[in-house]
Every structure is written in C-alpha cells, then in structure tokens.
Symmetry: C2
Subunit: 190 residues, 2 copies
C-alpha cells in the first residue's frame, strides 16, 4: 500500500498527515491514556489497559501489565518491578522518537538500543529519613544507533528526542498529581 | 514459616528487618535498577531486565517488557504503549506502598485499586509548538482501598505513599537525565 513511503516500519506519509492535521486543528492531537491497576496479593499488581481516547474518540485496546517485587524486596519475583516498568516506559517512548525521527529524514536504521540505569536509596521509601528522596536523583542512559545517517544527523535526532519525548519530559520535569482516596469497610469481620 | 507475621502477603517481620538493617547501614538500602531496550521494528520496543543490584550485590532476574503504539499512532498495537507502561509503573509502585503500609499497621486488605489518567497534547511530541510540553501537565488518580482499617488509618497510609513512593516522586519531581549517544555506520550500502 504505502511501501514506497515506509522507512523503519514507519509510514512517513501517514506520520506527516497526522502532523499536518494536528497543526491545523490541535484538538486532533489530544490523546488521553488511562490504566487501572488491581492488587494481586503481596507486592503483585495487575494493570489493565482497555482503551484510550484520541481527539475525543474512544479507541478500544486490551492489555495486561504485571508487576512484582523481587524476593529481596519482599515479593515473589513473578514480573518486572515498578522501577523496571518505569525504565521500559522511558526507553520505549524515546525509541519511537529515534525511529520516527530517522524515518522522517529518510535514514534507514539497522539497530537502536537504549540502556538506562539508576539507583534508589531505600531510606526514602522506608520513611527512615525525610532528607532522602524516595526516587532517582539522576538516571543515566546510553543510546546506540546504527544506520545510514551521518553522525550529525543522529546527533540532531538525539537532541530532538530530548526536546520532544513525552516520557523523557515526564521524568525530567515535575507533573502535578491529583489524588483521590476512596475507602471501603471490610466485608469480613476480624 | 512466617505465617503469623504475614499480612496482605507481606512478611511484616522481614520488612521490619530490612528497614532496621537499612537504618543501621544505609549502603544496604542502595538499589540499582537497569533496563536495556531494543528496537523491534516500527514503533515496537522490547525491553529486557536481566538483573539488579542491592547493596552492591548483583541479583539475577529475567523479564521482557513489550511496547508498541496503537495503529492511530502509527504502530501495530501489539502491546501497551509507553504512556500505559508509565502509568502501570506509577500505579504498581504506589500499590506496594499501600499494601506494605497497611501490613505494617496490621490492617487486612480485601481490595486495592488505582486508576490513573492523563492527557497529552501531541503538538509537543510532533515538535509543532515549542510552547507545548510533550508530557503531562497533570495526572489524576483514584485509589480505592477496602479493608479493616479506619478511614483515618487509610488516609494516613495515603499521605505516607505520597511522601515515600519512588515512582510517584519520580513523576512529581524532576530527575536529572544524563545521556550518551553512540552512532554506528550501517553495514548495508544504500
């Protein structure tokens, strides 16, 4: 269908069309995501994705995402833990930026790999010291990209991902979090 | 083994032991996470977890985390997308806080559910407007918790999770991101 416009598996004409439509009418680029997570015993969580909205239109999808802590952190190690999911979210979002960015430039890629690492000080999570942040002070990541672009082209794509990746932005900047707590009494009596 | 100290599937004595050890020697609470992600064609990423470090000790684990964009965002919809992974990371991290916090208070839970939602303006990702942030301005989440605690106890746990959840902190605050780009020439000639 669009074989002549597909680079790195990205339909470049379709991408340009989306960008053109959003530029003309920004409401077409409003995308709403949602995830519902259920406690599955111990440190296990099962998260469910059942759809998202784009330009106000509901689009169904259906995925499960499991999380668990390793045994040393009191879990059963049945799934990646929340920190690993966060890094996967970070890497995979930037990945789309590198791949689409290269496609827009007509650069054919053979490989793109992103390795991320960071350290947590558990005194934060355990509430042992108010001066210790529970999260990351910094994360380090290395992007290895291989293809028929020049070093200058890859550097320009790299800088563009730094400017435009949603999840990179979400970690690099502060997001306002609005919470609501609903409590329900137990069915059983103790 | 520890049935008499297990609440909500959390071994409370083991948790107190970890907290005591970390309080005594903070190096025991230094935990290093890492994820390596490979481009898997189009908007698909496969992330691999092969281990983590705790107090400098390497502990093996092995998990894969898939990501893809839905068709409307130029993917093949084979997996949750990076935004959904981020929300699952956020929810599952807070979940551990609610469950462990309740366990420490001897509160037996029947249910804990966290629903998170947020909107992105694609003009940011598409680089159409420098004034539009690529990420979330805010996220809304609702926690529904059911068990034999009082409303006041649950509210105290809720506030504690706000203070101590690593991934909540990671989204609510800015993290310094250090990147390195490695470029490799293509094997093929075009």
């Amino acid at each position: 269908m669009h074989t002549n416009t597909t680079v790195n598996g990205i339909d470049v004409e379709a991408l340009k069309k989306v960008a053109g439509e959003v530029a003309e009418d920004p409401t077409k680029g409003m995308v709403g995501f949602r995830v519902t997570s259920h406690w599955a015993g111990g440190t296990k969580t099962q998260s469910t994705v059942n759809g998202y909205t784009m330009a106000g239109r509901e689009i169904e999808k259906s995925f499960q995402i499991e999380a668990d802590e390793p045994q040393e952190l009191l879990g059963e190690n049945t799934a990646p833990n929340p920190q690993e999911l966060l890094m996967a979210a970070f890497n995979s979002c930037m990945m789309v930026g590198y791949i689409a960015g290269a496609a827009m430039e007509g650069i054919n890629l053979e490989k793109c790999e992103i390795h991320t690492e960071g350290e947590l000080d558990l005194r934060g999570f355990l509430g042992l010291d108010n001066q210790v942040r529970p999260g990351y002070e910094h994360l380090r990541y290395t992007v290895t990209i291989k293809g028929d672009g020049t070093a200058e082209q890859f550097e320009a794509i790299h800088q563009n991902v730094i400017r435009t990746s949603p999840n990179r932005w979400n970690l690099a900047n502060d997001i306002r979090l609005e919470s609501r707590l609903i409590t329900e009494p137990a069915d059983f009596s103790t």
